[in-house]
Symmetry: D2
Subunit: 252 residues, 4 copies
C-alpha cells in the first residue's frame, strides 16, 4: 500500500557536481499484523521533510532514500518499506573527432527496500540509447547491412557500499553498443560513428552480453546481482527485438 | 530473447460473440544449451501462420497462444517459450436506471508460458476503471467526502482449464468499486451512481480486498494464483494511491 | 466543450472486408449564443445509439461520423460539431521475395467537422512505419551509411466524396520510404530489403516530398488539402529528425 | 525541418531561485528559397553552445531561446525558426491549515518563434492539476455530488516584455479549480480541502472561464493572446470532459 505517480523535487551533489532532479515517486509499505490501516499522509510527509529540510543538498539518491525510510519508520511501523524514483539524468561527453561538448540524457530508476533486521537493499537501473548493426546481414550481403537505434539497460541490486555510481553504469552500457550515440555530431564525427558501426556489428544478444561482461569488469570486487536488457528498434521491421541476461557476483 | 512491440490482428469467437483484436505482442524464448543463436523470423512466422491460416477464427486467446508455441517448437527448439498479448477489449452493459445500452472498454494482458514437460500456464490480467470514495473523510466531515476515478486489476495464473473468462473477470472487478462507471449516464443514472458511491465508501485497500473476495467466490473450484491491484487518481492530490494483494486457491 | 479519451467499439464493412475498431473518441461542440450549458450525456448517447443500433455494420468511418453528428443535432443545437476517432488499423501484405503473408498495423486519426450550412469536412491522417537511409553519408563514406526506423504520415482534408480510402493512403506512405517494413521477413526477404535501402537512400525531407508527390498522383481529380510529415529515429543520435510539407489540389 | 525528441540540460536563475531543467526539445526552421538542404548539426550545435558556454546560468527560458535562434541564424539562414521546450517545473507551497511545506510539480511548454523582420514571439503553456465538483448533481441530489481530479492549462502568446512568469501562470490556474491540490495533506488539511470543494462546485467550463478571468486580471496591461483548457477525469465515467476558451488582450 502506498503512493504512486507522485512528483517531487530534490538536489544532490557529489564530487562538486550538483543535480536537481524531479523524480516520479512510488513509496509503499507492508503493514505489521497488528496495524489495520495506513496513514497515507505520513509517507509523503516523511519524504517531504527529509528532502526539503533547509532545502538540503543530499550526497546521493541511495543515502536520501535510506533517510526517508528511517524517518517514515519513526512515524509509522512497517515490516517492509520501499521507495522508488524514476528520473532523467543529464551528463556531458565529447564528440569523437571534433571534440565538441555534447549533452546527453539517460533514464534512471533507483529503489531502496528496507526490511526489519536487514540492511537496506538498492535496486538501480540505467537505460542508455545506442545502436546495433546486423552482423549476419553484413557477412552475407556484400558489406551491406541494416542498423538501428537501440537501448541498453544495466540493473544492479546490492547494499549501499556495493552500488556503483550512475556515471560508471552509463559507461558500461555506452561501451556495449555497436557505437555510442551523441546529440551533436559534426560531419567528421558522423563519418567516424558510421565506420565504427560497420566495424563492430552486434545483435541485441551481443549487446546484452557486452553489458554484463563490462559490468563484471568495471564493478569487480562488488557483491551485486546484475541484469542486462538490450532492445533494438529494427529498421527493417515495425517491431523491436530484445534480449535479457543476468549474473551474480560474490564480491571477490 | 525475442520480439516486442509487434502489432498483429486476430479474430476470436466464443458463444457466438466475435472479437477482432489488435494485440501488441511480446514473444520470447530461452534457448537450450546446444543452440547458440535464434532465428528471429521463426517466431513471427509461427504466429502469423497460426493466426491467419485461412483467416481462421479462434476459440480463445489461450488456445491460440498454445497453438503458436506448439508451431514454434516444431520450427525452433526452446527450453521455455512465452507469448504475451496486450489489447483493449470492448463489452456492453446497461445503464443502472434508464437501462440504455452502454459500451465499455477495458485493458487485458494475456500471456502463456510453455516449459518442457510441463503444462502450459496462462497469466491473464484484466484492468477496469471504477471509483473510490474516502470512508474516513465521509465519517468525520458532516457527510462530505472526496471521491475519484480509480482502476482495479485482477490477475489470474493457472492452467487452461482453470482460467476464467474475461467477462467473469471484468465482473469481479466492476463489483469491487464504490460504484461501476459507465460511458453513458442519463440524469437519473447519474443520481443513482452518486448515491451509490456515498452509500459504499471504499479506500483502495478495500477495493483490493473486494476484488480478491469476489474472485474467490466467482472462481470457486478453480486452482489459481490470484493478484489484485487497486489505484485511485486522488481528487485532492496530484498523485495516486495504490494497494496490492494476493491469494492462492487450491481448486477445492 | 465535450468528451475526450472515451473508448468505444464499432464495426465497418466495405468491399467485403470487415473491421472491428476500438477507437479513442473526442467529441466536441460549440454552442449557439442562446444556449448556456451543454447536456454532456447527449453527446455520448448520440454516438452510442448510432453505433450500436441493432449492432449495425457501418460502411465507413466517415459515413458513421456524419450520422452521429446528425443524431446529435436532433438532440442538441450546436454551431459547430466535431468528432474524432484515433485507432489502430490492421492490413495484410506479402513479403517481397518469399511471398508469405505478413500482417501490418498502422495508426489512423479520422475526424469529421460539421458547421451550420456547410458540408461535412473530414480530416484523416494515416501514419505508417518505414525507414530512411542517409544519402550524404552513403556518398562520402565508401558505401557505408547509417539508416533507421522512420514514420511517415499523410493527412488529407476534404469532403466525403474526395477523401481516399485508408488502403490507398497506406500505399502512398509505404512507397515513400527507402523501403517498406514488414512484420515477417525470411532471410531472402531481409537481403532484398537491405539492398533496396542502399539503392534508395532518402533523408526525411525526401520521404516527405515523396509522400506529397505520391499523394498528388494517387489522388488526382480530388479536391484536397494534404499534409505530410516524416520522422526518423536516428540511429547515430538519441533524438529524431523531422520534416513537414503541404499541398492543396483543386480537383482537376 | 528540424530535430524533435531531443533531451538536453540547462540552468536558469531568476530572483535568486535556481532551476535545473531537462527539457525535451523540438527545433525547426523553414529555409529561404535559395537554400536546398539543411545542415542538421548546426541546429544542435547552436543550442549546445549557448546552453553550455561556461556552463552558464540563464535568466529565463525565453531569453535563452532567443539567444539560441540568434546563434543559429549566424550559422544557417532561415525564414522562420522555432524552438520548443517541454519540461516539468517544481515549486513549493504551504498546506492550507497545517502550514507545512509541500512540493508540487507542473508541466510547462515554452516555445519561441523568430521570423525575419519581426520580434520574437513566445508561446507558453502551464498545465496544473486540481479538481472539479459537479454543481448540478450537488443541487439536485440532497447535497451529494461527484468530484474528480482535473487539469487546467493557461497558454499565453506574446512578445518577451508581455509574457508573465511561470509562477504567476501557475497561480492563475490553481485558483480556478474547485480547490487546489497538494502532495501533502494532514487530516485537518484534508477536511479543509473537502469542504472547500463542496463550497465551490465547478464544471470544467467554469474552470475554463475562471482561468481566463483570472488571467485577464493578473496579466492586465499586457498584450497577449490567451487560451484556456480544462479537463476533468470524471469519477462516474471512464472518459474525460473538456472545455476550451480564448481571449485577446490589447495591453491596456
Amino acid at each position: 500500500m502506498g503512493v504512486k505517480n507522485l512528483k517531487t523535487f530534490l538536489i544532490t551533489e557529489r564530487s562538486g557536481l550538483r543535480h536537481h532532479i524531479i523524480p516520479t515517486v512510488e513509496m509503499t509499505i507492508n503493514l505489521p499484523a497488528d496495524l489495520k490501516g495506513i496513514h497515507m499522509s505520513r509517507l509523503v510527509e516523511s519524504m517531504t521533510e527529509v528532502i526539503s529540510d533547509q532545502f538540503r543538498v543530499h550526497e546521493s539518491i541511495e543515502e536520501l532514500q535510506i533517510k526517508i525510510l528511517k524517518a517514515l519508520r519513526e512515524r509509522h511501523g512497517f515490516k517492509r518499506g520501499e521507495i522508488r524514483f524514476d528520473f532523467e539524468f543529464g551528463y556531458s561527453t565529447k564528440t569523437p573527432v571534433s571534440k565538441k561538448r555534447s549533452w546527453e540524457v539517460c533514464d534512471i530508476t533507483a529503489s531502496t527496500v528496507k526490511e526489519n533486521g536487514k540492511p537496506a537493499i538498492h535496486d538501480v537501473s540505467v537505460k542508455v540509447i545506442g545502436n546495433t548493426v546486423c552482423p549476419h546481414c553484413l557477412a552475407n550481403n556484400g558489406g551491406m547491412t541494416h542498423m538501428q537505434r537501440a537501448s541498453g539497460t544495466i540493473r544492479v541490486v546490492g547494499t549501499t557500499q556495493d552500488i556503483p555510481t550512475y556515471g560508471s553504469m552509463i559507461e558500461v552500457v555506452e561501451n556495449s553498443f555497436s557505437s555510442k550515440t551523441y546529440s551533436l555530431l559534426k560531419l567528421e564525427d558522423e563519418m567516424y560513428v558510421t565506420k565504427k558501426m560497420h566495424d563492430n556489428p552486434l545483435f541485441v544478444e551481443d549487446v546484452c552480453r557486452n553489458i554484463l561482461q563490462n559490468a563484471r569488469e568495471s564493478f569487480a570486487g562488488r557483491k551485486l546481482e546484475m541484469h542486462a536488457e538490450a532492445r533494438s528498434l529494427e529498421s527493417i521491421h515495425k517491431h523491436d527485438v530484445i534480449a535479457h541476461g543476468r549474473i551474480v557476483t560474490n564480491g571477490e
